[in-house]
């Protein structure tokens, strides 16, 4: 499996995702945002961080960079795209995923482990998880409060495009377990072809038992299939 990680000025989880990908036996390349072509890849990752300092709106400026046109082309031809945290924000800014990420409802940066429930395990990203399995992943963001209009929300539900929802450890998706105010506790979504996943929690932080847990591993091993 060949992967590419796009690096923007201010990306800061690029090394973390590269380490996770290598650990999972991906052949990974780092791609600087000023490049105008992409190597052939099965998976493109847009990593977390503060691209362009999160200035203006998080993800907005990275969404205008040259390399993004190539990412869109690759996505249209079926390449798998994973956007984590700031990567998710960039995907919504470019329209590759619909909706947007607003400030957390408490107006504070939040870093802690949260539980999320797997809402659809019949995708290239989640096949190694069980349906409704609860994962414990780390979140770290200022703007993770997912919002979309009601038409799109209906579509997300109808077409099973919600990837993960914030929950408690037994999978209850009550608003009480919503860390940031996201609509319907949404933590991650797919596009309609399900080859693009955007998610706020960081699976790459959960691949090493010594540091955290291994709940993120199956996302990467799903992709390897």
């Amino acid at each position: 499996m060949k992967s590419s990680v796009i690096v923007f000025p201010g990306s800061n989880c690029d090394r973390d995702i590269a380490v996770a990908l290598q650990k999972m036996q991906f052949k990974n390349k780092m791609i600087w945002h000023k490049e105008t072509s992409l190597p052939k890849s099965d998976l493109i990752v847009i990593p977390g961080g503060f691209s362009y300092g999160d200035y203006l709106r998080s993800g907005a400026i990275a969404g205008k960079s040259l390399i993004i046109d190539e990412v869109i082309k690759a996505a249209n031809s079926g390449c798998l795209i994973l956007g984590i945290c700031n990567g998710f924000q960039i995907l919504t800014e470019t329209g590759m995923l619909k909706g947007t990420l607003l400030r957390n409802k408490n107006l504070k940066f939040i870093n802690r482990n949260v539980n999320i429930r797997v809402m659809n395990n019949e995708t290239r990203f989640t096949s190694k998880y069980k349906l409704n399995q609860v994962l414990n992943l780390n979140i770290a963001h200022n703007e993770g409060n997912y919002y979309t209009d009601s038409n799109h929300l209906d579509q997300l539900k109808k077409d099973n495009l919600i990837a993960f929802k914030y929950s408690d450890s037994s999978g209850n998706t009550d608003d009480k377990f919503n860390p940031n105010g996201a609509i319907e506790n949404i933590a991650g979504i797919f596009n309609d072809k399900k080859n693009i996943l955007g998610m706020m929690p960081h699976p790459e932080r959960m691949v090493d038992e010594l540091i955290s847990n291994s709940d993120g591993i199956n996302l990467f091993s799903s992709l390897l299939d």
């Binding site: 800061n12 503060f50 999160d54 200035y55 940066f109 770290a140 932080r205 540091i211």
Partner: protein, 725 residues
């Protein structure tokens, strides 16, 4: 413009100092030169009041590569790995504008570490606020915490440990100390000593604006009613640019293009250029027209004194200019050759083809004034009669302490910091020390910061010893061998004899402890003039320590691991309640002596605890500090949601003294029930005093026959305060 007394005073210089300047120059300085002198001669840059005392600190050791004198200290952790670290204060700016003050404090200390070639791997902070009921405290707390987080989170370096304290003494002068820790290859460390003549002096990073002009002299002046007027000097941090600067510098450092490199911190272009020239016994010539400016019509005076953030000065090897320029352009940063090294031993400033200022480097550096300020010894404080306080129940007292601002759980703060980015944080804040794995290796370092202003106020020598020992203990409890410390000395007005005495005696205590424990000081920072209108803060030295875990198999926390394990208490309990948190929280009393430090016990207990941990006998461990035994035990319980059943001590002791006394050199260890005989053997063989104090259990935290609390209640008690504030 002629220079009169008022201008001299405005520059924070004394008339006598001005006379010395004239003598050194053999003429009157012009205004630009006066500005340069004032920046270099103020307390912050010249250490004029502290230097003779700092000299006494032990700074050498087998593992010390670089002690004080460079941007940060460097220690050797084996296999060509070096750790580079330093702590620094940003107290005054943070009081004026808490968000930006704290943020730029973090930015500044990071630059000190990555200028030396290290990739920063952890951030820590020690923050002190006034009383929670003081009208300013809440917004200062909010601003400082979000500023620290705002900078560290954005640049992507985990903030992993720290301390937050409240005390009236900081009502008008908060403390914001930030510490950065980086990792470098031992053979790739960069220093600030210039070498060679006619080498290019390069300016990189952000443009220069009018921010922070005279910031360094502000940090050296007491606040008064007019401090509002000093506001325009506030600097704004740009963590995004710092991230670019970090990556660009590390990229350039891969080969040998750099002769010397120095961040522009306090007193910006002035101190960075003078420092490099002074260390290399050279001169430096700057063409100020070339300085990248953010605003129009900036004068040479403003350029030399601006404290704009995110800038560096580099001296390059011949012929490396194009290569270096490419790297900085890749990262969208300014890169301009603004001068060269010379053999004149002078700082020469040119502007519009004229020499606008010329000062011998030694007049600015080695000939800067040094004062042996008058100081008085602290009298031994009177003991207080504990019996005069009304008796209160153990449970009631414990609840009072655990729910107080100083002892409440700090996750409201730490959840605002990214603690996991870089994926090497094996232990986050919450335990005695954080653990950071060295990337791609089995080994890890432990880091912690500590201060005990109450003890230092009461009796500075003991207080000074105590914080070093407490810091050492905090590293031991997570299984790390303590290696070296950095220190940030926050004190009042040094022109006051009592304050200067507190300084001298705290330092004496720090020195003795460091010597005895072989725990040298490799870097640090002094912040004087903390206080207002002649009211000085408590002496507040902050110690930041680094220890090594040679092989990290499982991070050791202070949370209980399972039920039915044995709890043992290492070290003797005498029941020292003077200066205790028990008296402070229950009776608002802050009197008496601090607890004694016995270095021999300290060292023996610590070394044997470390041995037990290394031999895998220990499931969890915690040192006993503020709040005493009972508070330490409840913290172990709260973190794990496991309870404990503590025996009622058999001897005829006063329970309050036993459970809340703050005697030093003590640890609580959780061990497997079946390892007791092995552990007992090791402890006995080494003459370590210990007691079996109870066992862990589910659901309840209790002292046999005395008190019993549901652990969920205990958790709630400890987790309310911040959320309700």
């Amino acid at each position: 413009m002629g220079i009169n007394n008022k201008i001299i005073e405005k520059h924070g210089l004394k008339i006598e100092e001005y006379k010395v300047i004239k003598k050194l120059l053999k003429r009157d300085p012009n205004l630009l030169e006066l500005g340069v002198f004032s920046a270099m001669w103020n307390e912050h840059c010249s250490y004029k009041s502290s230097r003779i005392h700092l000299k006494k600190l032990p700074t050498k050791g087998d593992q010390v590569i670089q002690g004080p004198g460079e941007n940060a200290g460097v220690i050797d952790i084996g296999d060509n790995d070096a750790i580079i670290f330093k702590i620094e204060s940003h107290n005054h700016p943070s009081f004026i504008e808490p968000y930006q003050g704290a943020a730029t404090g973090v930015g500044g200390i990071l630059r000190d570490v990555f200028t030396m070639g290290a990739r920063p791997i952890a951030l820590l902070n020690s923050i002190h606020f006034g009383s929670p009921s003081h009208p300013k405290t809440k917004s200062l707390l909010n601003g400082v915490v979000s500023g620290i987080g705002g900078y560290g989170n954005c640049i992507g370096i985990p903030t992993v440990a720290g301390e937050t304290k409240f005390n009236d003494t900081y009502n008008d002068n908060i403390l914001v100390n930030a510490m950065a820790v980086g990792h470098a290859e031992k053979n790739k460390i960069f220093y600030s000593k210039a070498k060679g003549i006619n080498k290019s002096v390069v300016y990189v990073g952000s443009k220069t604006g009018r921010d922070g002009i005279h910031g360094a002299s502000m940090a050296s002046a007491e606040f008064d009613e007019n401090s509002d007027e000093k506001k325009p000097t506030v600097q704004v941090g740009d963590p995004f640019t710092e991230k670019l600067l970090l990556e660009a510098c590390l990229e350039l450092m891969k080969d040998d293009s750099i002769i010397a490199i120095q961040d522009m911190g306090a007193a910006g272009l002035t101190s960075s250029s003078v420092e490099m020239a002074s260390k290399g016994s050279l001169g430096i010539e700057l063409i100020l027209d070339k300085v990248p400016c953010r605003e129009e019509n900036m004068s040479p005076y403003e350029m030399m004194l601006s404290e704009s953030q995110e800038r560096m000065l580099i001296i390059l090897e011949d012929g490396k200019e194009e290569h270096a320029k490419k790297i900085f352009q890749k990262w969208d940063l300014d890169f301009v050759i603004i001068g060269k090294t010379t053999d004149t031993k002078k700082l020469t400033l040119k502007y519009k083809d004229e020499i606008v200022g010329e000062i011998p480097i030694e007049a600015l550096a080695s000939k800067a004034p040094i004062y042996d300020r008058k100081w008085t010894k602290k009298k031994i404080p009177k003991s207080i009669n504990i019996k005069k306080f009304k008796k209160i129940g153990l449970k009631e007292a414990l609840i009072k302490i655990l729910s107080s601002p100083n002892h409440s759980n700090k996750s409201w703060i730490t959840n605002q910091y990214d603690q996991m980015v870089m994926c090497d944080t094996a232990q986050k804040s919450g335990s005695d020390a954080a653990i950071i794995r060295i990337h791609n290796k089995d080994k890890a370092i432990a880091v912690a910061v500590d201060s005990s202003a109450n003890y230092c106020k009461s009796y500075p020598i003991t207080g000074g010893k105590q914080i070093v020992c407490e810091n050492w203990r905090n590293l031991i409890t997570v299984g790390a061998k303590p290696i070296a410390i950095t220190n940030c000395l926050n004190f009042g007005n040094p022109e006051n004899k009592e304050v200067m005495g507190e300084f001298a005696e705290c330092l004496e205590g720090i020195k003795e402890a460091c010597k005895f424990l072989n725990f040298p000081v490799v870097s640090g920072n002094v912040s004087f003039y903390n206080g207002t209108n002649k009211k000085n803060i408590y002496p507040t030295p902050v110690i930041g320590g680094v220890g090594l875990i040679e092989k990290l198999s499982q991070p050791l926390s202070h949370n209980f691991k399972k039920n039915n394990s044995l709890l043992i208490l290492i070290g003797k309990t005498f029941g020292h309640l003077e200066q205790s948190c028990y008296l402070k929280e229950n009776f608002a009393v802050e009197d008496g002596k601090p607890p004694k430090i016995n270095f021999i016990n300290e060292k023996n207990n610590g070394e044997i605890v470390l041995k037990l941990i290394k031999e895998n006998f220990v499931l969890s461990s915690h040192d006993i500090s503020s709040g005493g035994l009972l508070v330490a035990l409840s913290e172990m319980s709260i973190g794990s949601k496991l309870g404990a059943k503590i025996n009622k001590p058999k001897k005829l002791v006063n329970l309050t003294e036993y459970f809340f006394g703050e005697d030093q050199s003590r640890y609580i260890l959780e061990i497997h029930e079946n390892s007791l005989s092995d552990v007992d053997k090791i402890l006995k063989k080494n003459n370590i005093y210990y007691e079996n104090i109870g066992i862990t259990q589910d659901n309840y935290f209790e002292i046999e026959g005395e008190m019993k609390i549901d652990i969920n209640d205990l958790f709630k008690i400890n987790n309310q305060w911040y959320n309700n504030y």
